[in-house]
Amino acid sequence: MTDAASEGREGRLQAEDPWESLLRSANAGDARAFARFLVAVTPTIQGIVRARAHLLTREDRDDLVQEILIAIHLKRRSWQPDRPLRPWLHAVIRYKIIDALRRRSRQAQSRHLPIEDLDESLFCEDPADPSVPLDLDRILARIDERSAFIIRASALDGQQAADIGEQLALAEGTVRVLLHRALRKLSDLVQRTLP
């Protein structure tokens, strides 16, 4: 995070959050404001879902985004208009992501997925600029899923190799090797796409 970027974020925090006024109008019965609100938050939801629910298939992730939008609609009156919106929004998104991952792990009984272990990594109080994971996602979508996951976990979330290994059931050393290879793949890719 550069100084300019963090300054930008602080500036945004001081101003009235435009999402808050949209949802406030929406809860007062303004359908147009609610549509604008949903359109505005969708990329953020997609970014978080892609970053946090990477174990799901693409179709499941698309469904999950829709389920989150529906949950936001159903539970929108539980947001208090005099409170900041972001903690509410992120709690709703996190709950639905955990719910979806649990449901999936129940469906796939053969592969047990201990959601409790992921719980901490599934949520961060202060999510990074949502456009960063979006751009990174575009590049990461071009390498295999496991490498992408490792890069995300180490570079984006700052997790230790041991922790990543635990989530993937791999040894710490293996994770380091895989991370090294993944980064090389990524730099090859970027160099090839450069003019």
Partner: protein, 224 residues
Amino acid sequence: MTDRHHPRPRHDGTESGLEGLVLRLAIAEPPPPFRPVRIALIMLLGATAAGAVHLTWAGPRPDLGASLLDPVTLAKPALPLILLIFALTATLRLSRPEGQIRPWPLALVGLAALGLVLGSLAGLSAPEILPAVLGSTLRRYLVSIVGLALLPLAVGLGLLRRGAPTRPALTGGLAGMAAGAAAAAGYALSCTEDSPLFFVTWYGGAILVVAALGALAGFRMLRW
């Protein structure tokens, strides 16, 4: 929850599917307002009504005024009342997605109850302990307190469905604890068994039974 509030996702996974969903959600009827304080008041009203029915039927203890002057017998209605306040506040906090609670107020009530038990144990010899714990009205107790708590608990859980607790079992359990504590406080006004060994054990037991019922029901009813 009716269907007009509850559009289903479409499974074509395209951008237009998403746009269609946004439009359908925008024109869908807004959900009913969520007012946790009102839920708390309704639960308290239900508990008061149940308590009033009980007192009409069983009658207050004859020495009610005098019993409230002794700290140990005062604790019998007072501790459940304090527990009621803490548990109800915690329930309301957890009824919103971003809600967080601290466990120490509940632990404090537990410690106070434990202190009462230890204090009365100190004054008893070993063969006196078991009769003191069992008392003489045990069965009526458990049935009454759990029974008195069911109405406010059911009403409270039904209304909490409008909220969005991200920990449904814990939220339901705390609602049950609040309902059980309210019932115990009401029951204490008619009950004449004043040994802390008796009332901490069985009031506590009854409250925990209601809390467990609430947790089970919450796990099923409060998910969204």
